[in-house]
Amino acid sequence: MIEIENLSLSFGDRRALDDVSFHVPKGAVTGFIGENGAGKTSTFRVLTTWLLPDPETVSVRVGGIDLLKDPHAACSRVGVLPEQLALPGELRVDEYLKFRSRLKGVSGNRIHDEVVRVLNAVNAPEMIRRRLDTLSQGYRQRIGLADALLGDPPVLLLDEPTRGLDPRQITQFRELIDGLRGNHTLLLSSHVLGEVEQVCDRICVISEGQIRLEEDRETWMQRLDQLGRLHLELDCPDTGAKSQVTQWLKEQPEVSTVENEGSVWSIQADRTLRTRIGKKALDEKWIIQELRSEPATLESLFLQWTGPEKKKAQS
């Protein structure tokens, strides 16, 4: 639904986006993650035609329409919830959404129904007559999302949608996003990686204007499994036994690193190693005090892919 090929964007001498290429399949919820200033908002701004990409950009297609050739048509296929949501406080919710509907080309006789539809979609129909400056932050975000849904655009760009919300509002908003899955293609930018992990089918990691990683859930979950750690504590084996344990662990194919301190081993390995450790302990009569796995998080994957070593390797 979104296909970007060699997208570049410069502000003077500074290159905000450097040959960015990625695609978002139809109906998928894709997490677009990166540090501050990595290029997330710049990418969104190109997709909404607020900014024009550099001339060397090969192609930016939204819903099958080439944004470089027909920006207005491409723009009409995108709904956006910006990070900085500025609503005209002096207007009522219905006045604002009707105005936005007209701007988005919703025909006159459908406007009221469309406003009711989007307010129902974001679970805020009771807010229809409220002034925008009297709404809580959670409802303001919902109205922003309702605005993005006006005209039923196939693509939704959500820039930090849960920023400033309390935990309950975050849960509710996450449910709303979940409800849009399948009907819309979502590109969701967020710093809250736990949220991305829960909601998204795909992730796209951007750092210093370059795409570092683009993967679907299955692949990144496999990565997380591999990056997980096992903590093993044995009942005071003697020094010889300790080195025997360390040696055996290092010989296992799933193991990446082994660290030993006293009678505790910290092992970076796939979780499946636990069963074999159990069997080995029975055979060797090791007394296991504790054996627990600590799964890796998207955060660790993110740090790995945007860390200085990776940048150095890529450059």
């Binding site: 909404t48 607020w50 900085q84 500025a86 609503l87 005209p88 002096e90 207007l91 007209r102």
Partner: protein, 243 residues
Amino acid sequence: MKRAYFLFRKELTSIFVSPVAWIIMVLFTLVMGANLYLSMIAVSGDLKQLVAAGYGGLVSWFMLLVIPPLITMKSLADENRQGALEVLMVTGISDASVVAAKWAAAWIFYVILWCCLLPLWGILGMVGVLDTGVLFVTHMGLFVVGAAYCANGILASALTSHPLASAGLAFMFNVGLFMIHWLRFFFRPGDLELLWVEYLSAVHHIGDELTQGILDIRVFVWWGSFTLLTLFLSARVLERRRW
């Protein structure tokens, strides 16, 4: 154009649902009403001279220079700062349409302000002999000069991202245009340059021509052209994010 019209309607609604607009209207009517009252005393009740005395005086010019920057200061500056402009542009509306709609809403409010004084003139017309032609022509002049001053406000608003800075800049633009009149003291009667200064001077147009009942179409050509040029520049300034 349709989108520009929808935005214009929304802008006008936003102006009139804000209490600030009504406060400005009340203050404007009170100050200008007092100004007309004092002018009437100064011209000993001669309604023929009252238009020139009331609308060609300092108070009237102060209003002309100050009101447009106040009306336009939030138009683009505030929206740019808050990110509302970006949200607006996502709908596919063009930069030129945004500029035109914001200017039109500000100008209509400016026109309505001056129209608030019409009941006063109506009452004066009932008690004395009022030259409605002079009054009409003077108002046309005020509207066309105001159109240019509002365009200056829109340009200043596009150039800055803070309303107060925008108001200050627009005021400076307006004062700059106003000061053209005083270049006349550098030239002698008959000089070509003096004709140019008079052609460009709002003070000359309103004070010496329109309030005297002299209708010169060149006044409208000059201020109309200036307005269009300034609005074009404003649209270009708005587009600069893409340069």
